[in-house]
Amino acid sequence: MRDGPNTHVGSMMDVAVSPVLALRKFGCEQSLLSRPDGSSSFVQGDTSVLAGVYGPAEVKISKEIYDRATLEVMIQPKVGLSGVRERAQEHCVRQTCEAALLSTLHPRSSLSLILQIIHDDGSLLSCCLNAACMALMDAGLPMSCLFCGVTCAIEQDGHIVTDPTSQQEKESRALMTFAIDSAERRVMMSSTRGSFSVNELQQCVALSQRASEEIFQFYRDSVRRRYSKTL
């Protein structure tokens, strides 16, 4: 009734799923900036985001929290000043990071996460989440779990596409981004646009959980490579 897993682009397709069900090529580089405590550049296909983390550091009295660290996220677009769209994305990233970080270990401190969009070719929010996680890892901040972002788009004819390009995003009828945690593969944050059925939502969540396996394996490989000389 159903074919085996799709491993090649353009092979036999299933009924309700798009033939190209794959994540684009991704790449990551850590510690590429000298000033921030942790930095990373995450590239998904052509979408590229640069993340820098400062912390734990001194916090302004007006912003301090007595028992935990204050996390500040800033997303800077390439052209123009940051506006409402960036605020919404910052909110999503901040909620995810706050859930993963053990901020009670650094009370009355500030953690600043700055994301610079280098190029946007679709799946921007998930690329931001991935870059953020790698930068937090690079800075050595204590986290209870790692997280990754996966974007799914539902096309007009009902096909689901993971990691869509901006062309695919524009033509889609619904776009969903999920942040998945590494401990139990649960959804930490979801941000959606468009209309879709409950069934489609659950399918996309299940798909994202599958896709997150690849991304976490990539994290593991990156870190293993990085510390291969010292360990």
Partner: protein
Amino acid sequence: MRETPLSNCERQFLLKAIEEKKRLDGRQTYDYRNIKITFGTDYGCCVVDVGKTRVLAQVSCELVAPKDNRPTEGIMFINLELSPMASPAFESGRQSELHVTLNRLLERCLRNSKCLDTESLCVVSGEKVWKIRIDVHVLNHDGNIMDAASIAAITALCHFRRPDVGIQGEEVTIYTPEERDLIPLSIYHMPVSVSFSFFQQGTFLLVDPCEREERVMDGLLVIAMNKHREICSIQSSGGIMLLKEQVLRCSKIASVKVCEITELINKALENDRKVRKEGGKFGFAESMAKERITALKSEIAPVEMIDIEEKAEDIICRTGAPCDTVPSPVVRAPGTGQVGEGLQNAWGLDEMEEEEEEEEDDIEQGGPEKQPESETITSKKGDVVVISDSEEEEVVILHQGVEVKDFREEMSSGQKQATSASKKKKKKRKLAH
């Protein structure tokens, strides 16, 4: 976040070393750090590294109306952002002195030197011209942001391609990249700025100061020049007194450096042009260093799809049934809507506690479009919008005979009234129970 202050011993060490003609990274007095230029996927995007200082520049264009006093000239807008990523001292939003200085220097370097032919940016005189916008983001501050920014800006300008425009009588057509090739901007010359830092009241001079050297310097001289030995802008700051010979010597050094840098920029542009023409891969993804231990790339990863549908069905079956959908609001009289009469209280609270929920301002589901708009009319027409906590107040339906003028009112202005109106509706619902 505040910048960690420079300790006295560090300062003395640096000054002593400079007196002995030694620099922290082993460079000579007139040496520049390694300059690396990479281009992105779209035209007009480039990242420039001067040593560890990293700067990103992006050029974009749009059609706007020209300035009144210059109807036949295009507009060039330059914006330099000190990203908080670059240094803990940089804060977003606040315009520090450094931010203003750098912006002004960059503007003088590019705009006043007339390196870009603004006349060629005119489409319809007096009505439509191209506005070229250059955004420069400083990503890492390790000294000498000015030079890196000027290199990035002029490289991005040379790299940029704008859409082609066709004029037929009154009609103006902008062609997409698929229809007609994009055309480059017309650049007359390439101004590049060179920074000189002075120490010990002008006795010692260093080219391309790094961040530590910048902290202990007395003054800074910035000369923007092009390869034809024309000075585009010159600025001396810090209050040091410079002799005429010193300034002339610096300009000679600058002309040598600018020639080298211009050659480097042209080579980088040529390489990128070649790669794009041959159809090779370009962009930041490709320029990421592969051999580094801190970098990793992976191939296209397939996602398994075997039993996604079954899993989804399973989850949906296991979850509880959703609560009853709220019916559409009932319109009792023009300008009012009522939701929820006759439904069971699904909140699990009893009557007493529900009164305390007056303070919440949640707007109910079920026809959210119609509700707030009708409430807006009610509140707008009535001059009585009393937000009172008193439970004894009678609910009054205002103005039953009023004509409903326009349902398409601004939601934002009506939000506050919607809140108070929704409170009224809650009271109404309670009374109805």
